[in-house]
């Protein structure tokens, strides 16, 4: 649903110039602390011989930003999608036991970017800070199959948090309206307790971690120079 809303927003882009409006898509990589969730996974290890086969590794991130550029400044809103997961697994001749924990984070925030010219016109450096909120979703899918018996159990936890991400990057102009960017930053999370069926748990979705981006920026100028 969130993805749909984001998609809808993108149907109505705000055309600005750069000085104008900018539309940026970045694909990146992030690492995630998620210590509570990882601890939750660890508590299930050795339960009936489960072993950790996947433990919330860093994964690709997707970000969309819409902003307004005014000379060296750019500000706007941004949306990011974070996802990772873990797996506990055990199988033998009698069956298998799988616990998949997929954690998704949906960030909505605002950004301010300050460009610093490098003396080499197409290339500029920028410093960016992005505060916002992050909605976390943890899906635990537990499946036990023993001989012909199959048992599934799904558990869903939701959480809400605030994040702040300072970033530093490079921007290179490819054409009048098209730029590419490359940046890296660190997300700092201030999560709250996740809830399961409305009941608060002791688990926090802490997305703290490194963020790396590589994206394309499309600028719609509002004035011709």
């Amino acid at each position: 649903m969130k993805k749909l809303i984001i998609a809808l927003l993108l149907c109505f882009p705000i055309h600005v110039f750069s000085q104008g409006w900018s539309f940026e898509y970045s694909i990146g990589y992030g690492t995630y602390q998620l210590d509570d969730i990882k601890e939750l996974q660890r508590t299930m290890i050795n339960k009936r011989g489960l072993k950790e086969t996947d433990a919330f590794p860093g994964h690709i991130t997707h970000s969309l930003s819409v902003g307004y550029n005014t000379g060296f400044h750019s500000m706007g809103s941004t949306f990011s999608y974070l996802t990772t997961g873990g797996r506990l697994h055990r199988a033998d001749f009698s069956g298998s036991y799988t616990v998949d924990m997929i954690t998704n984070g949906y960030r909505i925030g605002v950004f301010y970017r300050h460009y610093i010219p490098t003396g080499h016109t197409p290339l500029s450096v920028y410093f960016q800070v992005t505060p916002g909120v992050i909605i976390s979703n943890l899906d635990m899918k537990e499946q036990i199959k023993v001989y012909s018996q199959l048992d599934k159990k799904n558990t869903n936890l939701k959480g809400f948090g605030i994040y702040l991400e300072p970033t530093i990057g490079l921007k290179y102009q490819l054409s009048d309206r098209l730029y590419c960017s490359l940046g890296g930053g660190y997300e700092i999370n201030f999560p709250s307790k996740m809830k399961q069926s409305g009941l608060e748990t002791e688990i926090e979705a802490n997305w703290n971690g490194l963020r790396l981006y590589c994206g394309l920026i499309f600028v719609l100028p509002t004035f011709k120079k």
């Binding site: 996802t83 997961g85 055990r90």
Partner: protein, 606 residues
């Protein structure tokens, strides 16, 4: 521009949906699958499942399970209802009778053992070896209520007690039978298959048995039975003058019998139910049948029984002991006495025609002597303890009383003659008093020499016409002729006489028992008419029947009858031990022990 938007939207959607993280990795563990089967041992009190468990009281049960694998869980259920779980290899529990109803129940022990393969299924408890055994439990509440005892007569005639046991023989240690009335001690039967007992000590009557069942576990239960079977009754079959058949009911079980008559054993320890003994006239014979077990070793105080019966050959008259008798030809009446009454009986039917009470003061006829009837009319003379009453006939009115003229049991002679005289010889007297029977006046006396000390038989006698008088004893005899009031000694001797009587309707014939003969002599010359040698057999003359003229005499434990004209011919004989009987109209009447009469007419030999 619109195209660009569409592409952007689609691309964004695809990117986001396809970008969700998919966990990966696998942890497959190579394990050895379990064997198809393993040996499992399940035990319930070490009882074979094919055996039925009999439960008659609350009992302890012990279940043990064993296998090469670890026990996960064992369940114990009764009729499908779980009563116990066990996680160890053994458990004990108690089953109470009221938990289960009467009947058959199933106890099932189901044990599950781990495969120990370490597989996921094993860890989840979904993999294991299971074994199950079931036992049948038969609940018998109050086994004594199902314990039935019966009795029957076996083919060999002995009593058999039999029972059925609600429990199988394998549980039974022994039986014991207690019968206080037929056995001297308790009987023990150690063969559980034996369910019967033959009691040789029982014949009939009331008996009780207590049968006790001893079980191998030390418990017991018992049941009793009592019953009563009828003892035998005695029956008599008159088989003529000589034999009497006595028979009795066969008792329930075989017995041996003793038959007593008047407290004397006549047959002993017989097993038949019939015996034939000689008849004995003149006694109301009291018989007692003693019944005891057939096998002698089983006699005791309780198992003997007696049955009683009485038999009289002839007809009992309702008269006391020692009645007086006299027969009147004119009226065909037999006169007799009953206590203080003088009775007149029809000589044919022996039914009472009339009676009169002569109580006297204080003796009366009860302690009287003789009664006599006139040969030519209806008169009857009765000698009481105080006086003599002479009645004209059986109406018993206006008697002529001769007082004092006492009679008693020792009066030697009391006779009415056809010349209206009454002759009396009192006890120990040597005089014969003669009275006028019409007036009661004394006429004269006849003294004589030989007096007898015996009351019976007759030693003094007078002819029916009153013309001759005879007095005899063991010292001699005197025969007198009487003319008016004078007497003339016609004959005398000193032979040893045992009795003398003039023949009825033959006043000149005198029947004598003298020395070793019975003689019939003619008077007055005392010539011998007939003689019968009785030297071998002691003989006592009883009387001469005034109607048939047959002579009744006692000889060799029998009464015999012979005609007056042929002393040697015995026309009737009957076994008897009374010597003082009388014969009237061919009916024998006893005197000593009650009054019994026997009609010899059907038995007279031609």
């Amino acid at each position: 521009m619109n195209s660009l938007k569409s592409i952007l939207l689609l691309a964004t959607t695809l990117i986001f949906v396809a970008c969700e993280y998919e966990p990966e990795g696998s942890n497959y563990i190579e394990l050895t699958p379990p064997e198809n089967s393993i040996p499992i041992q399940i035990s319930l009190n070490d009882i074979n499942p094919s055996d039925t468990i009999y439960l008659y009281k609350s009992a302890d049960f012990s279940v043990k399970v064993k296998s090469i694998k670890d026990l996960k869980l064992a369940t114990i259920s009764i009729d499908g209802e779980l009563i116990r779980t066990m996680r160890k290899d053994s458990v004990s529990f108690q089953v109470y009778l009221d938990q289960l109803g009467e009947g058959v129940h199933k106890v099932t022990v189901n044990a599950t053992f781990a495969t120990n393969t370490g597989s996921l299924a094993d860890l989840m408890g979904l993999e294991g070896y299971t074994g199950e055994l079931t036992w049948n439990i038969r609940v018998i509440n109050n086994p004594e209520e199902h314990f039935n005892i019966g009795y029957r007569s076996k083919e060999d005639g002995f009593l058999e007690i039999f029972w059925n046991s609600p429990l199988p023989q394998s549980l039974i240690e022994k039986y014991s039978i207690y019968s206080g009335l037929t056995q001297n001690s308790e009987i023990s039967i150690y063969d559980p298959n034996q369910k019967s007992f033959t009691d040789y000590g029982y014949v009939c009557g009331y008996v009780y048995y207590d049968v006790k069942v001893y079980l191998k576990d030390g418990n017991t239960f018992q049941k009793g039975i009592s019953f009563c079977t009828a003892g035998p009754n005695i029956y008599f079959e008159d088989q003529g003058t000589d034999n009497l058949r006595i028979y009795w009911d066969k008792p329930f079980a075989n017995g041996r019998f003793d038959l007593l008559c008047n407290e004397k054993i006549i047959v002993s320890e017989i097993t038949d139910t019939t015996v034939t003994i000689p008849q004995l006239f003149g006694r109301n014979r009291k018989f007692r049948l003693d019944v005891r077990p057939q096998k002698t070793g089983y006699d005791n105080f309780h198992n003997r029984f007696s049955a009683y019966g009485r038999f009289t050959q002839g007809t009992l008259l309702d008269l006391p002991n020692c009645p007086l008798y006299a027969y009147n030809k004119t009226d065909d009446i037999i006169y007799t006495s009953r206590y203080s009454d003088l009775l007149a009986l029809d000589a044919n039917s022996l039914q009472k025609k009339n009676e009169i009470t002569i109580k006297g003061n204080p003796w009366g006829i009860l302690y009287g002597g003789k009664i006599a009837t006139a040969p030519h009319d209806s008169r009857i003379a009765a000698m009481t303890g105080e006086e003599t009453w002479i009645f004209a006939d059986s109406r018993f009115v206006d008697p002529i009383k001769i007082s004092p003229l006492r009679g008693n049991v020792n009066t030697r002679l009391a006779a009415l003659t056809s010349n209206d005289r009454f002759f009396v010889v009192e006890q120990d007297s040597t005089k014969c008093k003669v009275f006028n029977s019409l007036t009661g006046d004394k006429i004269f006396e006849i003294p004589f020499t030989y007096k007898t000390k015996y009351t019976f038989p007759n030693f003094t006698t007078v002819s029916e016409d009153g013309q001759y008088f005879c007095a005899s004893s063991t010292k001699g005899i005197e025969v007198f002729g009487i003319n008016g009031t004078t007497k003339e000694l016609l004959y005398t001797d000193t032979r040893e006489y045992e009795g003398a009587m003039f023949v009825p309707d033959q006043p000149d014939q005198l029947l004598l028992s003298v020395n070793s003969n019975i003689e019939l002599r003619k008077i007055p010359d005392f010539t011998l008419i007939q003689s019968l040698d009785i030297s071998r057999n002691k003989t006592v003359l009883c009387n001469i029947d005034p109607v048939s003229k047959n002579i009744l005499y006692y000889q060799n434990d029998s009464l015999k009858v012979c005609p007056i004209d042929n002393l040697s011919k015995t026309i009737f004989k009957i076994r008897c031990d009374e010597r003082s009987c009388k014969l009237y109209k061919n009916k024998i009447f006893t005197h000593e022990v009650g009054a019994i009469t026997f009609d010899i007419t059907p038995h007279i030999k031609d």
